[in-house]
Amino acid sequence: METQKHTNDTYTDIPDDWFSPKEKDERKAEAVVRPSLSYWQDAWKRLLKNKLAMSGLVFLVLLTIMSFVGPLISPHNGSEQMLANQNLAPSSEFWFGTDELGRDVFTRVWEGAQVSLFVGLAAALIDFAIGVAYGGIAGYKGGRTDNVMMRIVEVLYGLPYLLVVILISVVMGPGLFTIIFALSITGWVGMARIVRGQVLQVKNYEFVMASKTFGTKTGRIIRKNLLPNTMGPIIVQMTLTVPSAIFAEAFLSFLGLGIQPPLASWGSMANDALTSILTGDWWRLFFPALFISLTMFSFNVLGDGLQDALDPKLRR
C-alpha cells in the first residue's frame, strides 16, 4: 500500500527552495545557432565532405585542363604518321607509345579527350535545353496538354535508345555532329520526365500561388519560381547523361559509326587497337580504355555525390 502511493508523493515532498528560477535570456534562446546557408552553399559544403565525389570532380577538372594542355606539351603531333615508329612501347620519347601508323598515343589520348568530353557535354546541354522546356511546359500547363505531351514521351521512351542512335548514324553518315544529333534526339526524354515530375510538385507550393496572385507572368513564374527549385535533380541527371553519352560514342565508334579520322575519340582509338592485344602492344588499348573508365568512374561518383548533396532531405 505504502509503496504504491509513494510515487505520487515523492516529488511534492521536495521543498520549494530547492528550486531557483533560471535567468531568462530571450536573445540567446531566439538566436540562430547554425549559420544560415543557402541551398547551394549547403549542397557545396556537403559535397566537399564527400571524398569520393570530390576526387571525381578533381579528376574531371584535371582532365579538361590536360585535354588542352596535353597536346601542347607533347613534342609530337597527334595525326602525324611516322612509319618508322610503328607500335613503339612507351619510352621517354613517346610517353604512351605509338600506334600502328606511328602516331603518338600520348597526344592522341588528349585530343581524344577533347572529342569525348565535347560529345558528352554537348549531348547533356541539348538534353537539358529540350528536356527542361518540354517537361516544364507539360508539368506547368497540366491537364490535356500534359496528357498529350506525356503520351508522346511514353512512346519515345519505349524506343530502344542505342538502336535509334545506330539507325540515325547509318542514315546521316558517321561524324561528330551526327553522333551528337543522334544522341540527343531521344536522350532528352528522360530529362523531360524528371522536370515534369518536379514541376508538378513545386507548382502547388504556396509561394507559387502567392506569385500568381501578384499577377506574375507565366514565363517569369517558370523561370524564377519553378526552375530554381527543380535544379537539384536536373543537375544530377546531367552529370549522369555525360558519361552515358561518352559511353554511347565509344560504342558507336566501336561499330565503325563514330568519329572518323583524322579526328580521334577514345572509342575509335580503342577500336583501332583491338587487334593489338594479340600482338602484345598493350599500350595502344590500355591508355584510351583507362581514360574512358576513369572518366566514367568520375562522372558516376560525382553524380552519386551530387544526388546526396542536393537532396534537402539528407541535410543534417
Binding site: F247, F251, G256, L274, L285, I292, M296, F297
Partner: protein, 310 residues
C-alpha cells in the same frame, strides 16, 4: 488489371508502329539506290533489280507492303547476300544470341543480388565499400574493354579459356563475364540501396522482436520486398545486354544476331538493318511490357486500376 494490360498493349503497338515507320522512312531518306555504288550495271539490270526489290513503286505502296510483311514476320531478302533472306539470318543468329543473353542475365541477376545483399548487411563496413567499389568499376568499364582484358589475361597470357567462337560451355565463360559485369553492378547497387531502406522498416523490427533467425528475416521478410525495384530495371538491363551483344559477338566472333547486324551496318545492307532493328525493338518492347505487368502483379501496393468499387 485487364484494363491496364489493354492500355499498355495499345501503347506497345503504337511504339512498334513508330519504330517500323521510323526505320522505313529513315532507310528511304538515304540518297541514292543501294545498287549504284559498286560496279556499273546497265539500265535494264538496274530496273530489274529495282523491280525485284519493289523499289520502283511509289513510296506509300512500298510502305504499306513493308508493314504488311513485317506483321507477318517476313523481312524480305538481303541485298548484299541475295541467296539469304533476313529471316534466315535471324533464324540462325537468334538462338545463339538468346543463349548468350539469357546466361548473362541469369549470371548478372544472381551475382548482383548476392553482392547487394551482402553489402547492405555489412552497411558501411569494409565488405560494403569493397562491393560498391567493384560495382562502380563494373559500371565504369565499357564491355569491350572488359572483353579484351579478359581475353588478354585468361586466354592469351594464361590459356585457360578459348579466345573466341561459341561451341562449348568453356567458350561461353569469357563472353558472359564480359557482358555481365555492367548489369551486375547496376543490380548490386540497386539491391543494396533498396535493401537498406527495407531493413529500417517496422515489420523488420517486429520480425527481429519475434526472435526470428537472421537468415529468415533477410530472405523471407527483407529480400522479397527489396527485390521489387530490381524487377523494374530488368527491362532496361535486357536492352543494355542486347546492345552489348553487338560488341561482344564482334570481339569473340560469335555467330549471333549481333554479328549480322554489325556486318549489315558496315556493308549498308538496308533490308537486314531494317529487319534486325524491328526485330530487336519488338523483343525489347515486349520485354518492357512483361516487366511492367510482372511488377503490377508482384507489388500489391500498386493499384493497376483506379476503380476501387464495392
Amino acid at each position: 488489371m485487364l484494363k491496364y494490360i489493354g492500355k499498355r498493349l495499345g501503347a506497345m503497338v503504337i511504339t512498334l508502329w513508330v519504330i517500323i515507320t521510323l526505320t522505313f522512312f529513315l532507310m528511304h531518306a538515304i540518297p541514292g539506290s543501294p545498287f549504284n555504288n559498286e560496279r556499273a550495271t546497265s539500265e535494264a539490270v538496274q530496273r530489274n533489280l529495282e523491280a525485284f526489290y519493289h523499289l520502283d513503286e511509289p513510296l506509300y505502296v512500298q510502305y504499306f507492303s513493308y508493314i504488311q510483311s513485317v506483321v507477318t514476320f517476313d523481312f524480305g531478302p538481303s541485298i548484299k547476300k541475295p541467296a539469304q533472306s533476313v529471316n534466315d539470318m535471324l533464324g540462325r543468329g537468334f538462338p545463339v544470341s538468346f543463349e548468350l543473353g539469357m546466361v548473362t542475365l541469369i549470371v548478372a541477376v544472381i551475382s548482383g543480388i548476392t553482392l547487394g545483399v551482402i553489402a547492405a548487411l555489412r552497411h558501411n563496413g569494409f565488405i560494403d565499400y569493397l562491393a560498391m567499389t567493384v560495382a562502380v568499376l563494373g559500371i565504369s568499364i565499357p564491355n569491350f574493354v572488359m572483353a579484351t582484358m579478359l581475353i588478354q589475361q585468361l586466354a592469351v597470357n594464361l590459356p585457360i579459356f578459348p579466345v573466341a567462337t561459341w561451341s562449348s560451355p568453356m567458350h561461353m565463360v569469357l563472353p558472359t563475364l564480359a557482358l555481365a559485369t555492367g548489369p551486375m553492378a547496376i543490380i548490386a547497387r540497386l539491391t543494396r540501396s533498396s535493401m537498406l531502406e527495407v531493413l529500417t522498416q517496422d515489420y523488420i523490427r517486429t520480425a527481429k522482436a519475434k526472435g526470428l533467425k537472421p537468415v529468415t528475416i533477410v530472405f523471407r521478410h527483407a529480400l522479397r520486398n527489396a527485390l521489387l525495384p530490381v524487377v523494374t530495371v530488368l527491362g532496361t538491363l535486357a536492352a543494355s545486354i542486347l546492345t552489348g551483344t553487338f560488341v561482344i559477338e564482334k570481339i569473340f566472333a560469335i555467330p549471333g544476331m549481333g554479328k549480322y547486324f554489325v556486318e549489315s551496318i558496315n556493308t549498308r545492307d538496308y533490308p537486314v538493318i531494317m529487319g534486325t532493328t524491328v526485330f530487336y525493338s519488338s523483343i525489347l518492347i515486349v520485354m518492357l511490357f512483361l516487366v511492367d505487368i510482372a511488377y503490377g502483379i508482384l507489388d500489391p501496393r500498386i493499384k493497376l486500376h483506379k476503380k476501387e468499387g464495392n
